[in-house]
Amino acid sequence: MGRYIFRRILQAIPLLIIITIVVFALMQLAPGGPLALYKQNPKVTGEDLARISRNLGLDKPVPIQYFNWLKRLVTGDWGTSFSSSRPVLELIKERMAATFTLMFSSFVISLLIGLPIGILSALKRYSIVDYIVTFFSFFGLSMPVFWFALMLQLLFGLKLGWLPTAGMKDPFIDFELWDRVRHLILPAAVLSLTSLASWSRFMRSSLLEVIGQDYIRTARAKGLSEGKVIRKHALKNALIPVVTIIAIAIPGLFSGAVITETVFAWPGMGRLYFDSLGRLDYPVLMGVLTVTAFLVVIFNLVADIIYGILDPRISYD
């Protein structure tokens, strides 16, 4: 197992490099460039633009720009933001905690709510409960995030006045757990909506598939109680694909965070990405995307490892 993980990590390095090359190339293909922003100021002359371009290293050929970026990355220097001239690593570090808090909470919410309702829905297949759950899952999957967020803000912020409508903390409270939780509730609810809905669907279909298997009949024939049949035989097997899908889906929460963080003015990496995209701040975009690619690779590995642990049929050596 240890060797397997080590080998996978080694394999991930060229993969990550290829990803960064592709991402860098795609960014160059994006219309316009980082200088477009300055152009909206009528005072800016062609000379000004040439000077800025030179200082940012944009006058060099694209492959050289990429190579310089990679060279700095290897030494732990993620470059500096075009727009704020601050080190990218610093920008990412100060946003990371916020994003992970949000991602982790919605992960937990999706897990604690999504899986049980998926199980319930599978066990009560074709019952009213199942139809209601199914209806809300599809509702959750198809609902525009913006709209759902706005409705929650209007209801819990404006109408009821229970929760703050945006931000991560009250500017005048230094640290207070309750203050943080209050700010977290709405964005976490919005971010978890999609994953909650889809995970409950996964859980439902996976459990249904397992329940139809002969070994579940075997278990019943053994004289096991129904509850034990489900817990001991059905769930354990049904969870294998669900756990893997969830592990792979976690980095997906990150992409969902881009919208959620923007709507709720949440100071995370998703928002940093959104802001930087508007300015085509290449170094920041590269930084955030590299982190994302890293997450994807890591969680794929985690998924494989979990699979190996859960399913005796899989072995890695």
Binding site: G32, P42, T45, S84, A166
Partner: protein
Amino acid sequence: MRRLVTLVFVAALVVVMAASFSVSAAGGRVIVMNQQEPNMINPYLDSMQATFDVSQLTWGGMLELDEKWELIPSLALEVPSLQNGGISKDGLTYTWKLRKDVKWSDGAPFTSEDIKFTWEYIMNDNLNVVSRTGFEEITAIETPDKYTVVMKLKQIHVPMLYVWTGPTIVPKHILSKSKNLNEDSFNMNPVGLGPYVLDKWEHGSYLIFKKNPNYWRKGYPKLDQIVYKPIPDENTAFTQLATKEIDVYQTFPTNQYKQVKALTHVNVTETASTYWEHININCKSPLLTDVRVRQALRYATDLKKLQETVYEGLWPVAVSDQGSPFWKNAKLKPYQFDLKKAGQLLDQAGWKLGNDGMRYKNGKKLTLVISTTAGRIPREMTEQILQQDWKKIGVDLVIKNYDAGKFFATYDEGGILDTGDYDLAVFAWGSSPDPDNYTLWHSAQFPPAGQNNVFWSNKRVDELIITSRKELDVNKRKAMIDEIQQIMWEEVPMIPTFYWVNLDAFNKNIKNIKPNGTSSGNLWNAYEWELK
């Protein structure tokens, strides 16, 4: 068990409610919202309004631009002029008298050396300054004493005063020691001359400013704290205003006008802006070289309809590129919407109506492409209205919109505007209160050299632009600027449409609000803000 659950639930509910009531604003602080987060607190290195706003709070300048777009002295004792001798007769020497006993926020004295250093700082080639316009005209700065600054100019440069207006001065005693000016921590937390200093910056969340204890205006600022809070989403910003989580909602979109107006605890202000919306006409395009065609298009542009349907009747109709009450040519009237006249002009230009109701010349159909930044709904609506109206005079208008990045990209990056890959283009320019639009209209400024992306050249206008830049007599200069506007009115290198109006909402409990439509922004007089 169930009773216990209920009890816990009720208790949680009570805590939530109690906590929500306890969040009421204490005295002496105002929370200002802006869509974007500042990149830094240095207006030289970044062109965002948010960056300018927070620089207004912390930096100082020799002059200020007030809400009437007039220059008033700030760290200078008076505005230099020919009359008071601050500007020499030949216009090549500016002499500034500085206030004494002014201190930087760290307590160090402010002197003429700082002005001189600021100029050297901007001219440093390694610094990523957005624009050096104006600074480049200075050849030398002398400091005969601690409170006198003498500037020598290469040539007459009338907008020189604006160069030193607003947040402009950097501290020599800090930055002269800097190893890397671009990445210096000064850019994030400056030592300044403004009424406030940065207390805390939670990146992505907010910036908290506190009183500058060394501020030179005695008894100011009045507020203890100003919080600057970026909120990217408009709906969220509105909700935050409604829940009083923010006190100031800056430049909200026109479609929220009624909603915001309906809130009883805020005042809505409508402030004329220096931005003006217009339709670029590509004079390089073979279909548009004939001035009669350009005039016809202007006659066929129904500004009244656009004003009502697109801008809720809030934005005033523009006649020229000058929005300032002083510089606008008062004799000019907007073209009256007149499709008949437009048709006649097209006839004269040789574009005859075909059987299909469209116009043809030498067998070629009059098809024009109009472009703007995709997703800007008012501009897209404008295009659609023009498409319908112009069809009536036989002009086939094709809409082809681009991502903002592509649209505004530089010449080298293949930008739509700069490469002239369009017939008509809808967008806005923001002008400075000075009327000089050299980069926009001078024929030497075709991209990539400058921003004349209508590719229009007019000898007389070139001449007027150059001479007006050197004319120190305001009235004589005004006559020249009037003439430029007159020529552009006739030649139609672009169709001016509307002056922007900034819509801002302020909590009614804030006193001394003086919204400023120039780049000075609403925070220019934040030192005076006070709570009722």
